[in-house]
Structures are given as structure tokens and as C-alpha cells.
């Protein structure tokens, strides 16, 4: 796909208990914090007014938090709902929550956990939060596939009603986690670089 009509207009990377926005360090939590505490502290730091957050699993909390940071001060919330979509990916699907859910089955299977035993639920939570009704797809791969995550969203911007698409990586497995979300649009805005695999890879590798 021609990258001339698709741009990376923003990024949010969360790893090692640090949150980066468009490449710059926005916030750093103590390294001693385990993932649940870190996510709660991040919620307090960047939002704090969305009670539904507390019922989410770790994968949804992480993706939701990254989307909060990514979308702040962008034009995306002003777009028609059906023109914003998502293409996300990770390594472990919902396996972290699958193990937690299955541990409840012997006694009393938890519907509140079962609903999070699908990796695409994080896209549902982000869609609910921001009212996005455009298309979304979840891919699973052993590492962040920058070729797929650049060419496929670029194609969606060209052939579907989408004007903006959140793409990237949101992974949780036990204490290992990483989020790298990118806002891609068909108009240059913000940090605006052409959407290519190399550009995604370079942004992803920074501060790794």
C-alpha cells in the first residue's frame, strides 16, 4: 500500500513501568510496583474518572490506559464514530486471564472473568470508552509484526470509511507486559510520519 496517504500521528508505549507519549517520557512509576498496582497508579495519573476500569482484566486495563494517553488532545474524538477503528495484536492472546478464569471453574465459574477470555475484548473496552464504531480486528503473532501492522491499517484507511485507526501491540502474560499503540490517520497531524514498517519499528524499538 502507498504510505503517502497514511501517517503515524501519535504513539503511546508503556513498558518497564514507564509511559511514553510520542516518544517522550510522560510518567515513571516505581519499579517495585507489580502490574496490577502499576495499572491502578497509571489510571489515577492519566484518568481517574472511569469506574468501569476496575472490573477489567489486566490486558484491557493496559490497552485502555495506552489509548487514553494516545488519544489525549487529538482530533480523533471529533470524528464520526464509524470512522475510527482498531487493528491490535499480541503474543499471548488472553491466556493470562484464561488461567485465572479456569481456576474458578472447579468451584463457581466466574462470568465476570469469562468475558475477558478473548483478546479482542480490549478493543471493545476502548470502543465503549471513546464511542468508536468502526471496524476492528485482533491478530496474534509471536512478536510485533510491523509489516502487517503498517500495511493492513494503511489499506483500511484507503478502502474503508476509516479516517483514523489505532494499531499496535498490547500484551500481558503474568508479570510480563507491554503496550505500543499507534494512531494512524489519512491526514498528517501531530508527529506525522509516513506509515511504514520501518517507521513503526523505529518507534517501537525506542526506549525498549
Amino acid at each position: 500500500m502507498n504510505s503517502e496517504s497514511a501517517y503515524i500521528t501519535g504513539s503511546c508505549i508503556i513498558r518497564h513501568n514507564k509511559v511514553y507519549g510520542n516518544g517522550g517520557l510522560l510518567w515513571e512509576a516505581g519499579q517495585e510496583l507489580e502490574l496490577p498496582e502499576f495499572l491502578r497508579a497509571g489510571y489515577d495519573r492519566f484518568s481517574g474518572q472511569y469506574p468501569k476500569f476496575h472490573k477489567m482484566d489486566a490486558l484491557s486495563k493496559l490497552g485502555w490506559l495506552a489509548a487514553e494517553v494516545l488519544l489525549k488532545d487529538t482530533r480523533v474524538p471529533l470524528l464520526p464514530p464509524e470512522q475510527v477503528g482498531m487493528v491490535l495484536s499480541n503474543r499471548s492472546s488472553s491466556l493470562d486471564t484464561d488461567l485465572r478464569y479456569y481456576a474458578t471453574v472447579k468451584d463457581f465459574a466466574s462470568p465476570a472473568l469469562f468475558v475477558y477470555t478473548l483478546p479482542n475484548i480490549v478493543m471493545g473496552e476502548i470502543s465503549i470508552r471513546h464511542g468508536f464504531k468502526g471496524e476492528n480486528t485482533f491478530f496474534v503473532s509471536d512478536a510485533f509484526d510491523t509489516a502487517l501492522m503498517s500495511s493492513y491499517p494503511a489499506q483500511l484507511l484507503a478502502v474503508t470509511p476509516l479516517q483514523a485507526c489505532i494499531c499496535g501491540w498490547v500484551e500481558v502474560m503474568e508479570q510480563q507486559y507491554e503496550a505500543a499503540l499507534f494512531l494512524v490517520e489519512n491526514k498528517p497531524d501531530g508527529m506525522a510520519r509516513p506509515l511504514t514498517a520501518e517507521a513503526l519499528s523505529s518507534l517501537y524499538q525506542t526506549n525498549k
Partner: protein
């Protein structure tokens, strides 16, 4: 734009190991759903569309699948059968491979003795996808789609787009899910499993019946042997609730309308809609509203869940393949289990076989996370 054709297909499930066997069973009104009594799944008996003991081993006897999981055997049997119908090879650099599933090898979690170290590596979806790709000596890394119950149709749409973009000349799209204690207990925890075989769109429907199976379509830019071309497809999100469908059905309707418009068709061109029709109270109600919003209320609609149960990541593939067979024969299949109209907005659902002279049908799916997808399939007339 580059046309994309369906050049081979297969279904492996309780009703058989080829598309033909499956379609003949469905045409005769037979269902894969039966009463299951197995304490490994649930304390009480339940209805499910499950493979009979030994059935899958018979299907894979010549496949060299020692040590493979049920999920992997299903996929191997289905992909191998579809590949045998064409000269297309996964070993070709120009052939892509897409696998759709919701839970993959989750069966491994249930097979571990208490306190055992879990084989987490083998439970990762990409591990099992690579194993299947290796089995067929695939030249390309498999892409894995896991978007809940819309995965199968989304995988077909993804394959179509990758051919349109010039990335591949052919794409093998396969999907599978296994009926496990994991999934059954989850749907039971939602009070969403029907005590009798599911009754889509019926006034007395009380929930889903789960199923298992695999299905494969081979897509190509080359139309030789093709009976169908793919029309446009679209995906939408409700942005309403992660486990309950839209209150209005407007989002599924939007996907339906995009699929029609993108295919250059109007509602009058559509012979039937193969709906998701899970037989939960809310899903079928939402779909009925969506059909009205999209102007499809009078078009014949069916659900195939009464034959296959809900096969999750395989559902969109299985139901698209059976619907292609039906359209080739000029029929609209009955909705098994349906008796009495039971949605607030009337839709044209039937429990008898209808005839159609149309060359286009619309397949729709919806799933957890608020996702919906719709896609048009076009019959190629001789």
C-alpha cells in the same frame, strides 16, 4: 479492483469430513447436536454438537498427526482436504495462510493433572499455528485472527484484502474451535446455554448450543474452478457492552449496508441472509432490528446453529460454506429449531426449504466485544 474467488472449501465436524457430506446431512435436516453425558465437561448432561469418539481419528488416520491436539487434528483434516481440491500449495511464496480461532489449544489446560506445570508454550496460539503451518510446509508465517465469534468471517475478509493488495495470489483461510469444559462452563456461567437444542429466532429460545469443528476456504485471484466470488465485507463495533449486543442493531446494520454498497448491490438482489442466530434472547433480537434497519426484513433469513451449534471461531467459515452450497442448489435452508416467531421486529425466518433464483447472499456474524461483520458472496453462473 482485483476479484477474489473461492476455489476450494471443506468442513470437518460431527456431520462429516467434506463439504459434500456436511451439506447432504444439513439438506436432510440432520443435526450434529446431541445429548452429551460426560463428567469431564459438566456434571449434568448438556446438548452439544460434538465429534463422536474416534470420528476425528478416522478422518486423520493418514495425516501423520501423532501427538497433535484435537484442535490441531481438526485443522489438519480440513486444510488437507481443501488443498487436495486444487493445485494451490502452501509451500508457494505466493500463498498466504490465515487461521481463525477463539481458544485454540485451550483443551491442554483441562488435560493437566492437578498441580502439574502447565504447557503454556503449547497453549500459545502462534505456537499451534506454526505447527500447522509446518505440517503443510507453508512458505509464509501464518496470520492468526482472534476476534471472538466473528473470527471466521473476518479471516475470509482479511484474506480477500491481502489478495486485493497484491500481497498474495492465493490465501488458505482455516478456522477451528473445540467444545471444551472451558467454553461450556463459561457460557453456563452466563446462563446462556439452552437446556434443549437451540431454537434460533424462536419465541421459546433460551440460549446457545455449543459445537465444534473446522472449516477451510481457499481464496484465489485465479477463477478456475470457482463457483463463487467474494463481494464486499465490513466490520463494525457496537461501542455499547462487552458481553451484550447493541440495543438498536444499528451497528450490525451499518456493516450489512457497507457490504451491500461495496458489492454494488441493493437489498432486492439478496437471495437470503445467513444470520448469526445464536438463539440467545438478546442476540436474535438485535439481529432482527439490524435486518430492519438495513432494509432486509422481508428477505429470507436463516441460522445454521441448529445443525452445527455455535462453533465460535469456525462459525463464520462453516456457515458461509454451507450457504454457498445452498445458493448453488438454489435453496434457502430451513432454520432448524425455529417454530414460532419470537423477535419484536418480524423477520422472514422459516423452518421449511425455500427456493431462490438469486445469485447473492449476505453472511453476518456478531460476537463478544461488541463486534459485527457482514460479507456478500456472489454465485458465478455457468
Amino acid at each position: 479492483m482485483q476479484q477474489v474467488y473461492v476455489v476450494a472449501d471443506n468442513i470437518v465436524g460431527p456431520l462429516g469430513s467434506t463439504t459434500r457430506e456436511n451439506f447432504e446431512q444439513v439438506l436432510q435436516g440432520n443435526s450434529g447436536i446431541g445429548l452429551q453425558q460426560n463428567a469431564a465437561y459438566a456434571a449434568a448432561p448438556f446438548y452439544g454438537a460434538m465429534m463422536a469418539p474416534g470420528q476425528l481419528d478416522t478422518y486423520t488416520a493418514a495425516d501423520n498427526v501423532d501427538g497433535y491436539t484435537t484442535f490441531e487434528k481438526l485443522l489438519v483434516a480440513s486444510v488437507r482436504s481443501a488443498l487436495q481440491q486444487t493445485s494451490i500449495s502452501l509451500a508457494d511464496q505466493r500463498t498466504g495462510f490465515i487461521i481463525s480461532t477463539t481458544k485454540g489449544n485451550i483443551e491442554l489446560l483441562e488435560q493437566q493433572p492437578e498441580g502439574a506445570v502447565l504447557p503454556l508454550g503449547d497453549m500459545q496460539l502462534f505456537t499451534t499455528a506454526k505447527k500447522i503451518a509446518g505440517h503443510f510446509k507453508a512458505a509464509n508465517q501464518p496470520l492468526l485472527v482472534s476476534s471472538a465469534c466473528i473470527s471466521g468471517l473476518v479471516a475470509i475478509l482479511t484474506g480477500k484484502r491481502l489478495i486485493e493488495a497484491g500481497r498474495y495470489d492465493h490465501v488458505v483461510v482455516a478456522g477451528a474451535d473445540v467444545l471444551t469444559r472451558f467454553v461450556l462452563s463459561g457460557f453456563q456461567s452466563f446462563q446462556a446455554v439452552s437446556a434443549i437444542p437451540c431454537k434460533p429466532f424462536d419465541a421459546n429460545r433460551t440460549g446457545v448450543t455449543l459445537g465444534e469443528g473446522a472449516a477451510t476456504v481457499i481464496l484465489s485471484r485465479d477463477n478456475s474452478n470457482a463457483a463463487f466470488s467474494l463481494g464486499a465485507g465490513a466490520i463494525s463495533n457496537d461501542a455499547n457492552h462487552i458481553s451484550g449486543p447493541s440495543r438498536t442493531g444499528e451497528e450490525l446494520a451499518a456493516a450489512m449496508q457497507l457490504a451491500l454498497k461495496g458489492s454494488g448491490l441493493t437489498t432486492a438482489d439478496i437471495g437470503f441472509v445467513s444470520a448469526h442466530g445464536t438463539a440467545t434472547l438478546y442476540n436474535d433480537e438485535m439481529e432482527a432490528k439490524a435486518l430492519h434497519h438495513a432494509g432486509l426484513a422481508t428477505v429470507p433469513v436463516n441460522s445454521l446453529k441448529g445443525y452445527y451449534g455455535h462453533t465460535l471461531g469456525a462459525a463464520g467459515l462453516i456457515e458461509a460454506i454451507i450457504s454457498m452450497q445452498a445458493m448453488k442448489q438454489g435453496v434457502v435452508l430451513p432454520t432448524k429449531g425455529y417454530e414460532t416467531a419470537g423477535v419484536s421486529m418480524p423477520v422472514n425466518v422459516n423452518n421449511t426449504l425455500l427456493h431462490t433464483s438469486s445469485a447473492h447472499f449476505l453472511k453476518t456474524v456478531s460476537g463478544f466485544g461488541g463486534c459485527n461483520a457482514a460479507m456478500v458472496f456472489n454465485l458465478i453462473r455457468d
